[in-house]
Subunit: 158 residues, 2 copies
Amino acid sequence: MLTQRDLAILDVLQKDSDTSLSKIGEKVHLSPSACSRRIANLRDEGYIRRNVAVLDRDRLGLGTTVFVTVSARIHSAEWTANFRRAVEAIPEIVEVYRLTGSVDYLLKIVLPSVNDYDKVYNAIVARVEMNVVHASIVMEDIKHAGLPLSFVPHASSR
Amino acid sequence: MLTQRDLAILDVLQKDSDTSLSKIGEKVHLSPSACSRRIANLRDEGYIRRNVAVLDRDRLGLGTTVFVTVSARIHSAEWTANFRRAVEAIPEIVEVYRLTGSVDYLLKIVLPSVNDYDKVYNAIVARVEMNVVHASIVMEDIKHAGLPLSFVPHASSR
DNA sequence: ATTGAAAGGGTGTCGAT
DNA sequence: ATCGACACCCTTTCAAT
C-alpha cells in the first residue's frame, strides 16, 4: 500500500524528475537516503515506469495537433491487426485509443503544419479501409497536467 | 539550427531521460562530455523543457480514461475565463484542448473507474454552463509515442 | 521494518591541452 | 575532442528506534 508520502514523492517526480533527493526530502520531511529507497521501491513495484524528456513542440516546428476519430468498415481480427500495424508505422500518429460507442478510435496526430495532414491521411487510408468520422485541429493547449494522485487510495499515514 | 545528432539525442531522451551520457555518446558517435554540452544547449535553447516520471496508471488505480467533447452555450470572454478556471480546478481533467469547428473543447479525464465520471461531470456543469456533446470511455491504449522527430527540419549534418 | 548519519563510488561538469 | 580534476549526488552500510 502506498503512503501519503509515496504519493507526494510521485507527484514531485511526475512534474520534475530531476528534483534532487535532498529537495524531495524537504518537501516530504524525510532524509535523502530514505527518499532514495522509497523511489527505488516505487520503481521496482511498477509505480514509476520510466523518466522521459518533455520536448517543446513549437520550438521543434511540430506545433500542430489534429484529433481524428475513425470507425472501422469491417469488424474483424484481421482488420484490427492491420489497423494497428498502420498506426504503429506512421510516426506522426502519436496516440491511439480504442473507444466505446459508435466512434471506434481516436487518433492524436502531431505535424509541422495543417498542410501536412493530407499526407498522413493518405498514408493511413492507403493501408487500411476505414471511415474518418471527424477531424479537428487543436487551436490551443489549455491544460496539460499530471495524474490526479489525490484520488489514489493510500494508507492512513506515516 | 539542429543537427541530425541533436535530433537523435532528443529522441533518446524523450524515450528515456535516464540514459547515461556514455550510452548516448555511443548512439550518436560522440564523447560523453560533448553530449553533455549539447544537451545543456538544447535545454538553454528551449528544446528540452523538463524531465518527468511516467507513472503507471493501472498500478495507481487510475486506469480509466474518458474523452469528453463539450461546446459553449454562450460565447463570451467571461464564459471562457470561467471555463478555464473550472477545468484547471478539477484535477481529474488532465488535458484540455480548444478545437476548430464550433467552439468545441476536448477533455481528457483520468479516473479510478467509470463510476467516478459522474462526480466530475457534476463538478464541471455546476461551475460552468455548457453542452456535453459526447463522452466515450477508452477501452484500450493502443499507441503512445514520442514526437515524430524525423519530420523536424535540420542542418545537413555535422 | 523504516529511519538518519556517514562513507564510498559513480557520474556529470568544467578547465586545460 | 580528449584528458584529468573537482564537485555533486546518489547509494549503501550500519546503528538506532
